[in-house]
């Protein structure tokens, strides 16, 4: 289909501000009378505050106040997991206990040193298996796990059960969570190759470039909060609830966010922004809370680590007949995370296992709080499964590409515990395109060739994530000057989806992009709610709402034209600036004239009547405040059917030096299958960015904690090392399949997360290939692990270790 805007590159309006430094992040704002808050955080991994003596601090010149958990929770802290604003019951090092404000940061910091904090140390644990073991410490005062609607509980295994698990055998304990489909026993019975192993994947922090600094002030009973989010509108109402202010009295200001990656999608994962809001309310001064890199590590969230057992069976033709998976998930110090379930669902979707069983038990540790991080679960498990696919191909005498085609998801396929059908799926086409761009046939003979100490490894990886939701809203307005105002609630976190999804509205109205304005950045600009913009869903979800709002406007424009010029609405069409009669295009009205006429007519044309009843509350508030201001298009998106998948395929060639354990990436291509391409440059950025993240997961990033004191040792960029220019290839090849999805009006689906899983899988497979098919059954596979393997050293390894080195 020929589009004006969809599939075309453009300059998102915030880009000039990013290259000139003009665009403002939350810490860039200031306010007259602003004071500065500093946090006193827990020095112990698990404890109970016995006493706080702040008298000396509060007596200091320049100190203006203190905020404690008692201020925030006067009726007592919630007895559940989850981040609290402030706490007297810390369960990880660095958890905020109190905040103190002063006229400048130095004074606040000095005052902090005068506070006498008495804290009772409680037992702590860093590895879920240490907590599961009989007699092991519990991360929380009420136990080592939190069961939804039941509360804290204690889960313990015998030492024999733990040791058996660590030795690669199927866990025998009853899991907390399970699902299955198909006949597992028959699947394994029909298998010609079965691989069974224990595995582990590391937890690690998000490390967004922008720390979660926030500034707040109150004026005329309203709270104004400058903060960060993935979607400013999805976060606004729950954040207002955390602050304790009605939505109509809460203004969230968030022009740009310095990286989300899952941790800033929900208010509950970033409640620290409420500290300056509550503090400002208490002391009646604007409060800036600057967050340091180390604080960002401790309260910024982390990917869950998984300790698991997996058994996979393949038929002689390569079809995955059965998959059995059991995980112990690291829920960290504040609970949270559903990675294991997503991992299993991802395997089901990507490899179309004929029969499958999933079991999981989540256990807390006194480490960073866990939550969604780019492809939570799917991207870890793909790094484990990809080398297993290669092992099966080798055992069955199949080409590695062929075994993936055999199991590839396509139109009509289903996945997951509920056998949900895909809205569309073109994995075979994606594999083909990657193979062609990478020249798989030409390169595959190079696998395992040696050149001195160097050996070539090839890897194929596939990524998947459910990539689309629905149920959100859209608002567009046409001003009497003929300009289109697109009130998007989509956040600006670096994907440019706030702009690219808005283009669906311009597309419907056939308008020049120059005549359109994106209205966003703060909730008092009256925006439509968006999805939380996690789960790769922004493109699918929010093109639906932009498209729907524009369709509503289009219908109203035709109705007004028919009313004034005669005939029926169906007799009219548009050309981007006029509504005209199809049979006589000289009869018509400009968009500007239609908008002016709408103001005269009022009612449904200006949002004063016949507003969709099922709008989300934030959108309804926005519509009520915009009503009567212009011709309005308003839309509530009904639910869609099926599972819109995002797929990606990566192929990698590496040259691994067996003397150093280091490798160079010789070639890397990352191909997307995400429906119609909306914004090529934006998609390309997701593919190269996902590739960099995939490299980090595969070989670099991991939590490290001091086992003696529970202190994090990887709080910086160079400790839980994120990939740099020099860890990634100078060129990354990208491409896309570009076939439309029927559940989206412009055919689009999301891609942000699969673009990482594909590369984490391909790189782990390539390393395995270079080492004669050795499987580490772990991610990351670090240089020391490679060297130890080549040297035949295994005694340093700690089986399934979490939050620590793994030999």
């Amino acid at each position: 289909m020929a589009y004006m805007h969809i599939g075309k590159d453009f300059v998102p309006p915030d880009v000039p501000g990013k290259v000139t430094g003009r665009i403002k992040y939350s810490e860039d704002y200031t306010r007259e009378g602003m004071v500065y808050a500093r946090l006193l955080t827990s020095p112990v991994p698990h404890g109970r505050v016995v006493n706080i003596d702040a008298s000396a601090a509060l007596a200091m010149d320049g100190v203006v106040g203190i905020l404690t958990a008692d201020d925030v929770y006067p009726d007592g802290e919630p007895q559940s997991t989850g981040l609290k604003i402030l706490t007297n019951e810390p369960t990880l090092v660095g958890e905020p206990i109190l905040a103190i404000a002063a006229v400048d940061e130095k004074t606040a910091e000095t005052a902090m040193a005068l506070i006498s904090l008495t804290i009772e140390r409680l037992p702590f644990v860093l590895d879920p298996l240490d907590s599961l073991r009989e007699g092991g410490a519990d991360a929380y005062s009420g136990g080592n796990t939190f069961v939804f609607r039941q509360g804290f509980a204690q889960e313990k295994w015998t030492s024999d059960q733990i040791t058996s698990f660590q030795n690669g055998r199927e866990p025998s304990a009853e899991p907390q969570q399970s699902w299955e489909y198909g006949d597992l026993e028959a699947g394994f019975a029909s298998s010609d190759f079965i691989y069974e192993t224990s595995f582990s994947t590391a937890g690690y922090p998000h490390m967004s470039m922008e720390p979660r600094s926030a500034m707040a002030y109150w004026e005329n009973g309203k709270c104004y909060l400058h903060g960060t989010s993935q979607s400013l509108t999805a976060l606004a109402e729950p954040m207002a609830n955390i602050v304790g202010v009605p939505l109509e009295d809460f203004v969230f200001i968030n022009e740009a966010t310095g990286g989300g990656f899952g941790q800033r999608s929900r208010a509950a994962s970033i409640p620290s922004m409420a500290i300056p809001a509550r503090f400002s309310q208490k002391i009646n001064r604007p409060v800036m809370m600057r967050v340091t890199r180390e604080e960002e590590f401790t309260i910024g969230g982390a990917r869950q680590g998984l300790q698991g057992w997996i058994k996979v069976g393949f038929k002689s033709n390569g079809a995955m007949a059965a998959m059995d998976m059991y995980c112990v998930s690291d829920s960290g110090g504040k609970g949270g995370g559903g990675d294991a379930n997503s991992a299993a669902a991802g395997v089901s979707a990507l490899y179309q296992a004929e029969a499958m069983r999933f079991r999981n038990t989540s256990i807390g540790t006194n480490t960073g709080h866990r939550g969604a991080q780019r492809g939570p679960g799917e991207n870890q498990i793909m790094a484990i499964v990809a080398p297993i696919m290669d092992k099966a191909a080798e055992a069955l005498g199949l080409d590695r590409l062929a075994i993936r085609k055999m199991n590839a998801a396509q139109n009509g396929d289903v996945s997951g515990s509920r056998s949900t059908p895909f809205t569309s799926a073109y994995m075979p086409e994606c594999l083909e395109q990657a193979a062609e761009q990478f020249d798989w046939d030409g390169r595959k003979s190079r696998a395992r060739q040696t050149n001195g100490s160097k050996v070539t490894g090839l890897g194929i990886g596939q990524g998947y994530h459910n990539a689309g939701r629905s149920g959100m809203d859209g608002i567009v307005r046409m001003l009497p000057n003929g300009r289109l105002q697109m009130h998007t609630g989509v956040g600006n976190l670096g994907t440019y989806s706030y702009a690219s999804t808005s283009r669906a509205a311009a597309e419907v109205l056939k308008m020049s992009w120059d005549d359109c304005d994106i209205v966003t950045g703060r909730t008092d600009r009256h925006l439509a709610i968006s999805s939380p913009q996690d789960g790769s869903n922004s493109i699918f979800t929010n093109t639906r709402t932009a498209y729907g709002a524009a369709q509503d406007m289009l219908a109203k424009m035709k109705e007004i034209a028919a009313m004034d010029l005669g005939g029926a609405a169906a007799d009219y069409d548009i050309d981007g600036s006029r509504v005209y009669q199809i049979t006589d295009d000289t009869v018509g009205m400009t968009y500007a004239a239609v908008a002016q006429r709408a103001l005269e007519l009022g009612g449904k044309f200006t949002g004063e009547a016949e507003v969709p009843e099922d709008l989300n509350s934030l959108t309804a508030l926005s519509v009520s405040r915009l009503a009567g201001s212009a011709l309005m298009g308003i839309y509530h998106d009904p639910r869609h059917a099926g599972n819109p998948p995002g797929f990606a395929v990566a192929m990698i060639e590496i040259e691994l030096d067996t003397e150093t354990g280091k490798f160079d990436i010789i070639e890397l291509v990352n191909i997307a299958e995400c429906g119609t391409v909306v914004h090529p440059q934006g998609l390309k950025n997701q593919l190269v960015g996902g590739a960099v993240w995939g490299i980090g997961l595969s070989v670099l990033e991991r939590h490290l904690y001091d086992p003696q004191n529970g202190i994090p040792a990887s709080t910086g960029f160079w400790q839980s090392k994120i990939p740099t220019y020099l860890d990634t290839p100078a060129n990354i090849g990208t491409g896309w399949v570009d076939l439309p999805d029927p559940e989206n009006p412009v055919g689009a689906r999301g891609i942000g997360e699969p673009s990482m899983g594909s590369v984490s899988a391909a790189l782990n497979a390539a390393i395995s290939d270079a080492l004669d098919g050795h499987l580490f059954d772990a991610a990351p596979v670090t240089t020391d692990m490679i060297i130890n393997h080549v040297a035949g050293i295994s005694e340093e390894a700690i089986p399934l270790a979490q939050n620590n080195f793994r030999g």
Binding site: D9, V11, P12, D14, V15, P16, G17, K18, V19, T20, G21, R22, I23, K24, Y25, E27, D28, M207, S208, M209, E210, P211, A256, T257, G258, G259, G260, F261, T292, R293, L493, G494, T495, Y496, Q681, G682, K684, N685, V688, G689, G690, A691, V692, W693, G716, F717, W718, I722, P723, T724, Y725, L726, T728, A730, N731, I732
Partner: protein, 197 residues
Amino acid sequence: MYPVNTKLTRRRFIKGVIASGAAATSTSIWYAANGAERPPGSVERLIRINVNGQVRSVDVAPQETLASTLRYKLGLTGTKLGCNRGECGACTVLVDDIASYGCSILTHSVKAKRIETVEGLESANGDLHPVQQAFVEELSPQCGYCTPGQVMAAVGLLRANPNPTREEARQGMAGNICRCGSYDSYLNGVMRAAEIG
């Protein structure tokens, strides 16, 4: 080995920071040299620094970093603080044409130097600098938080080496982290900027 801009080596950067620290602790020499009498126990606070071609008078504490001065005293918030400990490069500015971490330089040490920030790159008529223009055309930024630092690192690189190979650009930009992983797009931007000149 690929040729690299020797001005941008980490060793030289660290030496520079050490020298800066030495300069910052030697303000008493300034008083002695200028015959001025400093009040007992005090240090010079009101200094003048050259930022983006303008001499600015500013009250600077002895331990204050250049990034802090730029952001919080001069309102030049384009310079970002991603780590404030010399790891990420978000605070990169040019000091006498050399890309330097603003978080790791004491302001007192650059009184006699030319400081350039991302705000100073546009021409008087508002045209973007070729690096900025190229980054727009290549859509190099994602979240944008590291972008001002990437811009300044690229400007420093291209002043020292106007026509780098892609590998030279990769080496020259290696002091700047991008968590979004937009390195490929930034390198495209650097190479395009070299073409634009």
